[in-house]
């Protein structure tokens, strides 16, 4: 055996280069990490750059038109001209309009009372009622300001000749703006229900995302697969305990919401609990699906973040959903958090019921079933 050669100068660099090369090779083999590194900045850039608009326009509004005078029509077109409103429909009754706002189909209701034109001309100061869904104060702030502006100049064309005397300030009618559900515009009322969903998404995803990969990494999967147990049984058995954990989390968050932040539950508590459980199961199923696809626990974690990031950004939690471009809204509609966000805000703040939320409930249910179906199909019953 010869004595080891004396260390050459520059040896440190060579050893650094050895580690560097090895890391590069390993990184190039790990495609998911690579994709994460490209995907996350790209998504953030696109979302923050294009999708996020805290002053959304084109908000769905419904009109309860009880007058057919030229004044009424002018007022509506003046509102339309602001660009903030998209008159999606005309409600025939107040109940219908209420449903539209509870079901999240309309953010504004504008009621023009009977004989509005006649009363206006008579100088009786008729009142226009504007109901704004203020659960998300950021989303409605701009539009409310625009209504006031439009009202001031709405009738400049009609109020000529003998009626010119009415063209004065204050305007010849009353504008009553009712910020429903959150009259004080407290952001907490909007954020807390969203937080329930966001926290549950992250924790539930990660719990189950690790469940199958952990068995594979620890080698216990081989024994489990050799035993007479079916994939559906394994899946349900793994999801169920975390549903209990989720129920506990929900209780803690809700107690904090009520005690610390003074957020009410206006609707049915039972409905809220039931739908939150549905949402918890939806997320557990997604996590479990990741778990059947990922090869190790790190990959499962990465997939969870892949899912969590758009959930947080595109669900309407951080930014008004209606302020996002259509492509971002489309992606958002796929995510369970988007639907849960509507459900949570609807039940807690607006007192919405099953009928009002049927679309979001069905979407959550369909999503859960699809995720579970995929997981069972993906579950490898053999080691092939």
């Amino acid at each position: 055996m010869s004595a080891p050669a004396p260390r050459k100068r520059g040896g440190a660099f060579r050893r650094f280069a050895a580690v560097f090369t090895k890391e590069l090779i390993q990184l190039s083999r790990d495609r998911l990490t690579f994709a994460t590194m490209l995907f996350i900045p790209l998504v953030q850039l696109l979302l923050f750059g294009y999708a996020i608009n805290t002053d959304p326009k084109n908000l769905p509004a419904q009109i309860i038109m009880q007058d057919d005078s030229a004044f009424a029509r002018s007022f509506v077109s003046a509102l339309a001209a602001t660009g903030y409103f998209n008159f999606s429909g005309t409600a025939r009754s107040e109940e219908e309009a209420d449903h539209a706002i509870l079901a999240n189909k309309a953010q504004f209701l504008i009621q023009i009372p009977a004989n509005f034109g006649r009363d206006l001309v008579r100088g009786q100061k008729p009142a226009i009622l504007v109901v704004a869904d203020a659960t998300d104060p950021t989303a409605t702030g701009g539009a409310v300001a625009a209504i006031n502006g439009a009202a001031a100049s709405a009738f400049s064309r009609e109020l000529v000749g003998p009626l010119a005397r009415l063209q004065q300030s204050p305007p010849p009618f009353d504008l009553r703006i009712q910020k429903r559900f959150n009259p004080a515009g407290r952001t907490q009322l909007n954020i807390v229900p969203g937080l329930v969903g966001t926290i549950l998404t992250l924790t539930m995803l990660i719990f189950t995302a690790l469940s199958v990969t952990r068995e594979i990494e620890r080698g216990t999967m081989e024994t489990l697969l050799a035993m007479p147990v079916r994939p559906v049984e394994i899946m349900l058995g793994k999801i169920a305990p975390y549903a209990l954990v989720g129920a506990l989390q929900m209780t803690i968050i809700m107690l904090a919401a009520i005690i610390l932040f003074d957020v009410p539950i206006i609707g049915s508590v039972l409905l809220f609990v039931a739908l939150t459980m549905l949402f918890i199961i939806a997320n557990l199923s997604v996590g479990y699906t990741f778990s059947t696809v990922a090869r190790n626990q790190l990959q499962a974690m990465q997939m969870s973040f892949f899912f969590f990031l758009p959930s947080m950004l595109l669900s309407g939690f951080l930014f008004p959903f209606r302020g996002m471009p259509v492509w971002a809204q489309r992606i958002g509609e796929i995510l369970p958090l988007t639907h849960y966000m509507r459900i949570a805000r609807g039940v807690m703040l607006k007192g919405a019921g099953v009928n009002d939320l049927s679309f979001d409930i069905l979407a959550l249910g369909a999503f859960t079933l699809a995720a579970m179906g995929l997981a069972v199909a993906r579950f490898r019953q053999t080691l092939d």
């Binding site: 620890r218 080698g219 081989e222 024994t223 035993m227 007479p228 080691l383 092939d384």
Partner: protein
């Protein structure tokens, strides 16, 4: 061997083939194993033993071939096979973060045993693990882990036990106890297929199947395999055994040469040729005729499987 009637056959597979990424791991394997016997499954590392065992219990799908395990089709009746087969993996694969009791109760419940708690308690007594019943499985020593794994395997009273190198890393006393138990199970009618690298364990089996690089090279009792090898052996003692080993290693007439402590084992199929080699190399060495061992037979088989690519040395 006589052809036993089908009821006496536990494993009957034909032409089993498994290919991973273009590499044939098991090639056209045909096995017929009788019930209520201990079958040793031997072969070098990477010879396809684990892959074969996994195909038998439905964990891997063969690329070709067919057959039955306990009378159930290995391709279509995996569920029935799983119910009646106990499979002990090479690596400890019970839950390390569950206690012994919890692990056994889990197994009992999965197999739908009527009284899982009672069954687990019974198994703990049988295994002599009473003092450790509430210890986490992960904290057990290698020998105890192996006992627990075996206990979990036999808990649902399987008809067939598949044991993949069950005694790797276990001390001789624990190995002996383990084999005593295996023999008890076989006496009760259980069929056992056990893969191993240990020759002494191979000799404890009723029958041996030897596979190398995907091919079944020999099957039978230990004596039958030794006889079939047709080897003749000498034990050589003397001063510079290393030099002799190197010299014989290059001799085409010698099938196998391997050191055994202070002696050298030399084997060949042709008795006359081997005698000639002995005569040529008597100076300074003592050549004693010897009966070939199972290991001699296996090493010769392994060399044959390599098409004489290099002798054991």
């Amino acid at each position: 061997m006589n052809e036993p009637p089908r009821d006496d056959i536990a494993i009957d597979v034909e032409g089993l083939t498994k290919i991973f990424d273009g590499k044939t791991v098991v090639r056209n394997l045909t096995l017929r194993l009788a019930r209520a016997r201990i079958h040793g499954f031997l072969g070098p590392n990477g010879s396809g033993k684990t892959t074969t065992i996994r195909m038998l219990c439905g964990l891997l799908t063969p690329d070709a071939g067919r057959g039955s395990c306990l009378g159930y089709d290995i391709l279509t009746q995996r569920e029935q096979i799983r119910r009646h087969v106990g499979y002990m993996t090479q690596r400890f694969s019970l839950y390390e973060d569950l206690t012994i009791t919890e692990n056994l109760e889990f197994v009992a419940r999965i197999y739908g045993m009527p009284d899982p708690q009672g069954a687990a308690r019974g198994a703990i007594v049988r295994l002599g693990l009473q003092a450790r019943a509430h210890q986490l499985a992960g904290q057990l020593s290698g020998g105890w882990k192996q006992r627990l794994a075996l206990g979990a395997c036999v808990l649902p009273e399987p008809l067939l036990l598949l044991l993949d190198e069950p005694t790797a890393g276990v001390d001789p006393k624990a190995r002996r106890d383990f084999w005593d138990e295996i023999h008890d199970f076989a006496a009760q009618g259980m069929t056992v297929l056990v893969s191993t690298h240990y020759m002494d364990e191979a000799e404890r089996c009723h029958d041996i199947a030897y596979i190398a690089y995907g091919d079944l090279l020999a099957q039978g009792t230990a004596e039958e395999i030794i006889d079939a090898s047709g080897l003749h052996t000498f034990t050589v003692t003397g001063a510079d055994l290393h030099a002799l080993q190197r010299k014989l290693g290059e001799d085409k007439r010698v099938e196998m040469v391997a050191p055994f402590g202070a002696a050298l084992h030399v084997a060949a199929r042709e008795k006359s040729a081997l005698d000639a080699v002995a005569d040529e190399n008597r100076a300074g060495y003592r050549w004693t005729p010897d009966a070939p061992t199972l290991e001699d037979a296996f090493i010769a088989l392994m060399n044959g499987a390599h098409n004489g690519e290099g002798k054991a040395a």
